[in-house]
């Protein structure tokens, strides 16, 4: 468990979508913290709200969605004249098109997406993508040598074109792209899926963000390529001390990457703990079912592949009480269908949302 200071706090976040057939509560009270330099994994099935949570952090919830409650607090670290101060920014209060949030997007919190095949604009080269981002977010310090031979950073200026290109090549090299001097002028369609994802990481990294949100970054890639990308992400994280919010539905991947894990179901966080505890001492029945569904190589298998029984409920017709109760193996009739479970602490840093651990 990281003892680092907190970077981003998500407090009781609620995001709703107003569609023709009713209201969909895509995120219904999500609470967690991401610390500096830490990797937080968010795991859940499709449609559980993890991607919407990620976008909410950057005020990028697509229409007709809206943040209706809760807060996202970002602790911005400012280094000036050798001292550090924390600037607390309430992201949920920022104008989604305003300058404040645009400064954060890409410059302080970066994001990479699931579909590398189509996340880059087809008519611009890898280099121009990086250059565009860098021109927007990076400022070069104008250094002046004082009488005591100490570098004093007096001012900042924007990056020049040549410098931007240099940075681009350097970043492409860092993400492991062979022949970066040539690749910098490649168009997206000239690159493979794995290479494009590396470019996306390079773009994100070139602005030296404090956190990277990775929304299923390897889901669309081959397993072998996936392994490479995960390696790059881990290496880079160490070198630049960047936090990662890693969203996936793949338990194996999250086991590799995350220090802390949030399990989401139908817009709610149902369990949060360190990765070790989630895997070895899962408390929520949903988490346990998820873990059971991983097939084990080598084990005797007379049993069928375990799956969670039932289906994901209709978002307009949510079950009463605990939203998971129709599919829960430890369902307690009379309780789980009537009472909504609260966020309960069950360990030093282990929280669950389940009536099994609540005193009712």
């Amino acid at each position: 468990m990281s003892e680092n200071p907190v970077l981003v706090e998500v407090k009781n976040l609620k995001v709703q979508f107003d569609v023709r057939d009713g209201i969909v509560r895509a995120v219904d009270g999500a609470t967690f913290e991401i610390k500096r330099g830490q990797t937080m994994g968010i795991i859940g099935e499709s449609g559980c709200g993890k991607s919407v949570t990620a976008r909410a952090i950057l005020q990028m919830v697509p229409r007709p969605g809206k943040i209706v409650d809760g807060e996202v607090i970002y602790h911005r670290l400012i280094r000036s004249n050798g001292s550090e101060t924390i600037d607390v920014v309430n992201i949920t209060r920022l104008d989604p098109d305003g300058r404040e949030i645009r400064r954060i997007r890409g410059g302080e919190i970066g994001m990479i997406f699931q579909e590398p095949m189509s996340s880059l604009t087809p008519v611009y080269t890898a280099g121009s993508h990086i250059r565009e981002a860098v021109s927007l977010h990076r400022l070069m310090p104008i250094r002046k040598v004082e009488t005591q031979m100490v570098e004093a950073i007096r001012a900042h200026r924007e990056v020049t074109k040549e410098e931007a290109r240099e940075i681009a090549i350097e970043m492409l090299h860092k993400v492991g792209l062979p022949k970066p001097e040539q690749r910098v002028d490649s168009y997206p369609h000239q690159l493979s899926g794995g290479q494009r994802q590396r470019v996306m990481i390079a773009i994100a990294l070139s602005c030296e963000p404090a956190m990277l949100i990775a929304d299923e970054p390897t889901t669309a890639l081959d397993v072998s390529i996936e392994a490479q990308i995960l390696d790059i992400m881990r290496d880079l994280q160490e070198t630049v001390d960047m936090a990662i919010m890693f969203i996936t539905h793949n338990l194996g991947v999250i086991a590799e990457m995350a220090e802390e894990i949030c399990v989401m179901y139908m817009g709610k966080v149902v369990e949060r703990a360190s990765a070790v505890e989630v895997f070895y001492e899962p408390k929520h029945p949903y988490t346990r079912d998820l873990l059971k569904s991983i097939p084990h190589v080598g084990k005797k298998t007379e049993a069928r592949l375990a799956s969670i029984k039932g289906m994901v409920p209709d978002p307009f017709n949510l079950p009463s009480g605990c939203v998971f109760h129709p599919r829960c193996l430890e369902y307690m009739p009379g309780k789980c269908d009537r009472i909504v479970p609260k966020w309960t602490q069950v360990g030093e840093n282990h929280w669950v949302r389940c009536l099994l651990y609540e005193e009712v």
Partner: protein, 378 residues
């Protein structure tokens, strides 16, 4: 063991699966208000002009009168003395000829009052070509001497414009419809053959289509239309014209149908390769074929206005429908010159009808396209 799954969810899912493709289309279509309006207007046009023109029009299409190029008579409820009448009426027109300039002009004659009656007995006709009848939707009382009601004025031969609009609409709208059907047959067959066989057949059909496409419309129309001998009956002219219109315009449709057939073929092979069970193939056919048909319906609906406009343009140039047969284009020919605009502007009213019809078709076609698009909507 929990068994009380929410009953709502599986039920809704069952309903969705059992809903056929067409009922889904209809459900989606119903939501689009513009499309419904478009559909109703199109239906109204075809019923009033196509089927019931003889009934709706107060006068026959060939009925001439002495009131040449008379202006519209406005229906009123209130007479010059300020009295309100229950039944609408029009005032008669009196012709005056200026002896010096030999110009004809009309003056409203308030002494002659012609009430408008409904379901009135007038010229007899054959409804739908079969049933002999003589009732008209509205008109003047047959016993009233010298009564006339020209709500939209008359043309150069004294024929009632409103009646001509209905009869002309029949021709214009039917050309639109039959032209597109013929184009479909032509183009769809060729496109299907081209897509299905591929290879040399495909190439040659493609080249032919491109060649026709590179040729400007107007000369083709004009040349082909002017080949029709002058002595041939207007009905035959009508048929030949439809064929000409279909011939010139099949290229676009052929290309689209070819694309459709190609994508259909592709899907079939993919299916075969994945060796689905026979029952699945049936389900997919239940979706594929309706999908193709729906595409064709949309294409056809959106092609009809183009056909109507082509006929209008041709007839306006004098190369299309020949008098005494009338269409909106022919009516425009009379009204669409500078002299007519200055002195008899009411002859331009067909423009309104044309625009309404085209607008309605476009709204309908657009709505159909949205409704049949499987990935459309939010």
């Amino acid at each position: 063991m929990a068994t009380n799954e929410t009953s709502a969810a599986p039920e809704a899912k069952k309903n969705q699966v059992s809903q056929s493709y067409w009922s889904l289309v209809w459900w989606k279509f119903k939501k689009n208000r513009l499309a419904i309006i478009g559909g109703i207007v199109v239906l109204l046009f075809y019923v009033c002009c196509g089927l019931l023109a003889e009934f709706v029009a107060p006068y026959g299409v060939h009925t001439e009168s002495v009131f040449l190029e008379a202006p519209p008579q406005w229906p009123r409820f209130r007479d010059v003395e300020g009295k309100w009448h229950l039944r609408p009426f029009v005032y008669g027109l009196e012709q005056q000829i200026d002896t010096a300039t030999r110009q004809r002009s009309y003056v409203v004659d308030t002494t002659r009052c012609y009430p408008i009656h409904f379901f009135v007995k007038a010229e007899s006709y054959r409804l739908l070509g079969l049933i002999k009848w003589d009732r008209h939707l509205f008109g003047v009382h047959p016993d009233q001497e010298g009564a006339h009601v020209y709500l939209l004025g008359t043309d150069r031969l004294g024929k009632d414009q409103l009646s001509r609009l209905f009869y002309g609409g029949r021709i214009s709208l039917l050309i639109g419809l039959t032209g597109v059907i013929m184009t479909l047959l032509f183009g769809a067959t060729l496109g299907a053959i081209s897509g299905y066989y591929g290879g040399a057949v495909d190439m040659s059909v493609q080249r032919a289509t491109e060649f026709l496409g590179a040729f400007p419309d107007i000369p083709l129309f004009m040349a082909l239309a002017s080949v029709i001998p002058a002595t041939v009956s207007p009905l035959i002219v009508y048929f030949l014209l439809t064929i000409i219109l279909a011939f010139v315009r099949w290229g676009g449709l052929a290309r689209q149908v070819r694309g459709l057939v190609l994508s259909l073929r592709e899907r079939e092979y993919v299916l075969a390769a994945q060796s689905f069970g026979a029952s699945d193939r049936r389900i997919l056919f239940q979706h594929l074929i309706p999908g193709a048909i729906s595409h064709i319906i949309v294409i056809a609906t959106l092609a009809i206005p183009g056909m109507i406009l082509s006929e209008t343009a041709l007839s306006w140039l004098g190369l299309g429908i020949r008098p005494p047969m009338t269409s909106w284009g022919v009516m425009l020919q009379e009204g669409g010159n500078i002299r007519a605009i200055r002195y008899t502007p009411w002859l331009l009213i067909p423009i309104l009808f044309i625009m309404f019809a085209v607008l309605a078709f476009n709204m309908l076609g657009d709505g159909l396209r949205d409704a049949t698009d499987p990935y459309g909507g939010q």
